[in-house]
């Protein structure tokens, strides 16, 4: 019955590799998000996606790209991974901004 689910929960890989994190929500929400939480617990928006409209945080490198096959999924692809990409990535969804966002449990990405 998980509302927002992310896979994998842990991802350990080497610099230079390409990886993907999947996110699915079964809440029927229209908007999905990706956040990055750094080692100091600071959460920062990366993308929001609503009705095929993508809003990108300008500080996100173009190595990161979200892909939405349908309204219930927003996957995150990362190319040429760098050490600084190590963080916990959270997916979230909401009906709209006036409604609370529901978060997944996060994916801990570690770059060796």
């Amino acid at each position: 019955d998980t509302a927002v689910s992310q896979t994998p929960k842990y991802l350990v890989t080497q610099m230079g590799n390409d990886k993907s994190i999947k996110c699915e929500q079964n809440l029927g929400h229209d908007t999905m998000y990706w956040y990055k939480q750094d080692s100091k617990k600071f959460l920062k928006i990366m993308f929001s996606y609503n009705n095929k409209e993508l809003i990108i945080n300008e500080t996100v490198p173009n190595r990161f790209s979200p892909k939405s096959p349908d309204k219930a999924h927003l996957n995150l692809h990362i190319n040429s991974l760098e050490l600084g990409d190590s963080a916990v990535y959270f997916c979230a969804s909401s009906q709209d901004l006036t409604q609370p966002q529901h978060f997944g449990d996060g994916t801990r990405l570690s770059i060796l």
Binding site: V4, T31, Y33, K40, K41, F42, L43, K44, I45, S48, N50, E53, I55, F90, A92, D96, L97, T98, P100, Q101, H102, F103, G104, D105, G106
Partner: protein, 117 residues
């Protein structure tokens, strides 16, 4: 630009004592305000939200928060803390874009709450 400040990085309280976590925001219009809690290794869980109306909002787990426009604050309170409340607490403001059709949350840097027996 919108921003959220949580002045306290780490707070320790005794079990049974009262708690207040501070949050100040900077936002041009009436904000949408949220408090989330994150337990270790977990995602974020919504405690409460403020959109409009009564400035004192009640949330889950016995938490409440008061919106004070004059002080740009949205402080979180609990009258009696339980050991299970130990976690990281995040204040967030909803940031609208594209005329309010879409947006995202801007988070404070969090306050870690420790509870001593």
């Amino acid at each position: 630009a919108q921003s959220v400040t949580q002045p306290d990085i780490h707070i320790t309280v005794s079990e049974g004592a009262s708690l207040e976590l501070r949050c100040n925001y900077s936002y041009g219009a009436t904000p949408y305000l949220f408090w989330y809690v994150q337990s270790p290794g977990q995602g974020l869980q919504l405690l409460l939200k403020y959109f409009s109306g009564d400035t004192l909002v009640q949330g889950i787990k016995g938490f409440e928060a008061e919106f004070k426009r004059s002080q740009s604050s949205f402080n979180l309170r609990k009258p009696s803390v339980h050991w299970s409340d130990a976690a990281e607490y995040f204040c967030a403001v909803g940031s609208l874009t594209y005329g309010g059709s879409q947006g995202n949350l801007i988070f404070g840097k969090g306050t870690k709450l420790s509870v001593k027996p």
